[in-house]
Symmetry: C2
Subunit: 329 residues, 2 copies
């Protein structure tokens, strides 16, 4: 089997690559070839037995998608995107990468389908940013998509295109609406959602973190490990089980910031909790307040998608996957 | 005031033009200029006191939208579209006209906004085709858009783009989801929805009509006169009343085919009803069964949008507007 990962240099892309390499198979078929693509060529993973290609490509550029599909990968995982903050700051870049890039990919699949019947599984990563306040809690699976960001708009359009190209028989698409991924490894960043991770990640290694919102804020989370599991499952499930509604809300954990902090206290003690500095930032709160508190995800759960059921578990995943299995000191 | 109508040669476009010319004003401002655009130049209306231009243009062609906005019309009514059946039969044409055309228009408005702060009212006509079975009856206003046609997909994407370009401040967009328009004047056509009109239109003038579905089929209707009234209201309402959710489900009349026929009996008698030939067509039924039986439209009603409340009234509108006010012989 040949798997093509678009956006392979990002955090989820790298973890997915590592997982595929470790498994050596996907959906019961052995992984013989892996093509990793990003705007800069991703690092080649270690320990691969099959063939690996790393490619620098801009999906929205003319002909790029056609070239990436020339060898007809069996599965395409489309993670490539300009993130929320950047798509809001740079309107044209967001539409170019997130909308035009996705459409170019779908058009390249359609052209290949017309040429030789090519019909790959395409996994499209959508986001809870397709929802915009006012929102019910939880958000029903049949709730309308009224994004309040350009990023959310582009993802919602991607979902619509994926469904139509699938319905027309050009591709076998599966979309997954990812929760906020927590705990993201790495450094604190400027994303409005960054604090959800940093208030746990930094104190776990004895560093300070800033909390800009009240502890009552509720949001929808899953670990990076769950996100990778979602992708693997979406890449290998039977598409007929979905019918024409091709995008699934992924399961997650609905938790308040206060519940996150209680979990931190249980896992790492009071000393860790004291490293969280409360610095209210009304600008961040205004953004975060419009986000989804929880999603109904029964369709996905029935198809075997699962996420963490407590923040203790989310923290444990981070300790295992990022900190070598134990807390420092 | 300068009004630009895109798709002015179609049935609704011609009726809107006649209405604007008859009123001589829109939203309290006098109509000084009217620009009518379609793929072939529309006929110039009679009796206009202001300036009228008729233009043949393809909205999706490079630079076409920029040229149409060069004189900065105050209101743009965007009716131009490839219809449902054609968008399904010709995938590329549907996406080119319905998606690329709409996006080119929005991009031209954005460029003009950047140049001189231009910020027109843009009325976008969407459709109940954004909904796809299984559907509740009535469809709540917060129900998700899961179109089962490429046309519905293109309209749903148009709604998303309209909302985002409005939210970003580039345009003042109002979208309206039109019911099926009944009774359409003119000849029977090949649209799957054609029978809803023809089973009334033909018998009213003593001609035969074919009914391909059972009388129990329920659908959502409004007259051409109501559709024009929706457009006029959408062109002139205060956009701030909408908030970020810019598209409104239009009110309509939920009726079964049997109820349509009862109204025909009351208005034109048993002789007219006997002109309806029942010829079940499973292919038509399969399509029509996936359509919306009724929509909740409270947001629109609160903003003053109204439609007919009985099929007797819909038939009366047709007799007044198309048959000179009385039935023949």
């Amino acid at each position: 089997m040949h798997v093509l990962v678009l956006g392979a240099a990002g955090m989820i892309g790298r973890k997915l690559t590592a997982r595929l390499v470790a498994d050596g198979h996907l959906g019961g078929r052995s992984l013989e070839r892996l093509t990793l693509v990003d705007v800069v060529a991703p690092a080649a993973p270690a320990g691969v037995t099959g063939e690996v290609a790393t490619v620098a490509a801009d999906l929205a550029a003319a002909g790029a998608a056609d070239r990436l599909l020339a060898d007809r990968p069996d599965v395409v995982v489309h993670l490539a995107a300009v993130v929320s903050g950047e798509a809001e700051a740079d309107f044209e870049k967001g539409y170019r990468v997130n909308l035009d890039g996705t459409r170019e990919l779908l058009e390249a699949v359609r052209a290949a389908h017309a040429a030789d019947g090519y019909h790959p599984r395409l996994v499209f990563t959508s986001s809870i940013a397709v929802y915009g306040a006012p929102l019910p809690n939880p958000i029903p699976e049949d709730f309308h998509l009224t994004p309040l960001t350009s990023y959310g708009t582009q993802k919602a359009i991607g979902e619509l295109l994926l469904a139509d190209y699938t319905r027309r028989g050009f591709v076998d698409g599966v979309g997954i609406r990812l929760p906020t991924i927590c705990i993201r490894p790495g450094k604190p960043n400027q994303a409005a959602s960054g604090f959800f991770s940093s208030i746990l990640r930094e104190p776990l290694v004895g560093a300070e973190a800033v909390l800009p919102v009240p502890e009552s804020v509720r949001h929808w989370h899953a670990s990076p490990r769950s996100a990778v599991e979602f992708l693997v499952r979406a890449a290998s499930l039977d598409g007929d089980q979905l019918g024409p509604r091709r995008t699934l809300s992924m399961p997650g954990l609905s938790a308040t910031v206060g519940e996150q902090i209680e979990a931190l206290r249980r896992v790492a003690g009071e000393r860790a909790v004291r490293l969280i500095r409360h610095e209210p930032d009304p600008a961040v709160l205004r953004i975060v307040e419009t986000w989804a508190p929880a999603l109904e995800a029964d369709r996905a759960r029935r198809l075997g998608f699962t996420a963490e059921s407590s923040f203790d578990e989310i923290i444990r995943v981070h300790v295992e996957d990022e900190l070598g299995g134990s807390l420092p000191g």
